[in-house]
Structure formats: C-alpha cells, structure tokens
C-alpha cells in the first residue's frame, strides 16, 4: 500500500473544513419580518465592521429584498457618524420597489471606515412583510472583511 503522510491527510481535512466555513462567512444576510404589521414598525440592527485579517474596513455595502408581494414595500437605511456628512455621506437609503421577484433593492455604500454602523429596516405601509438584508464590510480595495450583525429592536 502506498504510504501517505499523516500531515497531508490532516492538512486536506482541515483545509476542506476551513474552505467550507469561509464560503459561509462571506455571505452575510439578515432576515426578519415586521411582526406587528404597523406602518411605523422599524427593525433596528447594528453592524460591526472590523479587520478580520483581510484588511481595515473602509465601507459597508447593503441591499434589501422584500420577500412579500403586497402594497407595502421594504426599505433600509444605513447610518454611521455625524460629522462632515455633506461631504462624506453619513446615511443612505434603499427601497425594494419590486416585491414579487427574487431581486434586491439597489446596492448602497457608506464609506465611514471601521466601527459600528446602524441599520434600520422599515416598510412603506401597514402590512405583512418579511425581508432579507445582504450586507458586507469591505476594505478600500473591495476585499470582504470582518462583518457581524446584532439585532437591537424587532417590531
């Protein structure tokens, strides 16, 4: 029988596991729904952009998919910072106007470096709505870097 090094076997197995995990780690999605159905409902999340070894975060990009076809449309607002906002935007908005397809709203970017971004999800009218927000923290050279989301308010 051909002899193979134990190291080779371990490396192959470990490599496969790491590769699988990294593929999942690149996909950052936050799903939710407005449980109260109220027009004024706001779901609030914080998104932490950190350097996970891929580089320092430069911006957060996000888009939303309204997963319920009805009159009400889902939108997101991402926000960070309060200074010089007219020069470098502190908040951006995106609405998924077509809710009977698999498409997302236009992609928005907020270039406010590393730290905590606020993500607000709301809808245009009272009604049932579920959504999926896709978000990624990226470096100045568009490399995906540390992204984690925490739910703060569910309405």
């Amino acid at each position: 029988m051909k002899l193979i090094s134990v190291k080779t076997i371990i490396s192959l197995v470990a490599g496969s596991v790491i590769l699988t995990h990294s593929v999942f780690a690149l996909a950052h999605n936050q799903s939710g729904s407005f449980t109260t159905g109220l027009a004024a409902a706001v779901d609030f999340y914080t998104v932490s952009c950190t350097d996970d070894g891929n580089g320092a975060p430069s911006y957060l990009e996000a888009r939303v998919k309204d997963m319920t076809a009805n009159s009400s449309k889902v939108n997101i607002t991402i926000q960070k910072g309060t200074t010089n906002c007219n020069t470098n935007a502190c908040a951006r908005f995106s609405l998924d106007a077509t809710d009977n397809d698999a498409g997302y709203s236009p992609l928005i970017k907020l270039t406010q470096g590393a730290g905590t971004y606020n993500l607000y999800v709301s809808h245009t009218a009272a009604g049932t709505d579920s959504y999926d927000v896709e978000l990624h923290c990226k470096t100045a050279t568009n490399v995906h870097t540390g992204t984690s989301t925490t739910s703060r308010q569910q309405q």
Partner: protein, 194 residues
Amino acid sequence: MMKLQPKHLHRSLFMVLSLSILGFTQFVYAENNDASNRSNVAFDSLASVQVQCFSGENELLVDQVVTDELTQQAASKVAEERVAALSRLATSVPIDVVVRQKIIQTALQDADPRVRGQAVYALVQQNCADSLLLLEQALDDSELSVRLMALDGLMGDDRSVALLKNALKDDEQAVRELAAVKLESLFPTAGTVK
C-alpha cells in the same frame, strides 16, 4: 516523517463520514421541522374555500419551463419557497390558469399563515370568481398576517368599503391602521370615516 498506517486512514475516513452524516441529518431535520409546522393551525378561515379562476384578457402564452419551476417551488417543504412561488403568481406569469388555480387552492389551505396570506393576495390579482367572498372570510382569520393581506386586496366597491369600515373595529392596531389608510385614500375629502 510519520508513515501512514491503515488505522490512521480508517480513522480519518471515519471522521469525514461522521461529519457528512451529521450535516445531512441536520438538513433533513430542518426540512421535517418545517413540514411538521404545517399541521399546527389556530384557525384557518380559508379551509373550505373553492377557487375558480378564468383566463384574463392579456393572458401570456404558457411556458412549460416556468410552469414546472413554479409548481415545484409551490410544493416545496420550505415555507419561504412556497411564499416566493405565490409572490410570483401575484404578477403576470406564463402559466395555465388551471395550474394557477390549483396552486392557489392548495396554498389557501396551507397551515403556515404567511403562505395563506400570500395566496390571498395572489388570488386577488387573478380573474377568479368570489374573490370578495374569500377576502371576507380571510378577514376572520385568526392570523394577523392573513387579515392584513385580505385588507390589502380590497378595492373601492361598496362591499369592500363596508368590510374596510368593519376592519376599523379589529383588535389589532395594524389592521385598524391599514383600514383607515385605505378608506382615507378612497375618500380623501371625507375626513375620518366612521
């Protein structure tokens, strides 16, 4: 360098196989878990509804690929997939009216309220008999999401207005709010509708 013994190879293979089986078991459990939820309904107001739809004036040519794809999606064990199929039916799709009717009929009796609600909305977008009767029944559903979808489907005819006014007395604030907004849009100069 260490040499690989047969027992090392066996252990490695055993580990890989175990992890694969564990992953597959979790996948199957998740699917079954979703399917089991389909039998827990509080009050399904639409259980006895019979749908009868007709071809519209601007009917698209039937596309068998889209038909098969949507039929499969509507029969998925995953509720989100069933909702997605019905969302697509809320717009013009190149599917035979009989197939559309069958999908909606099945979905109206789904135990998941999100699916039932989306079916109500999809039905209103079709040319079907007794849509208003169905909406009236859906407004009695125990699930808020189904009642909201039914309200969303109401138009400006007398019977719809009566139903909207009745919805102003609903227990849920969201239902009252949506009914008020719809009445306001129908009668913008009338002020608050009583």
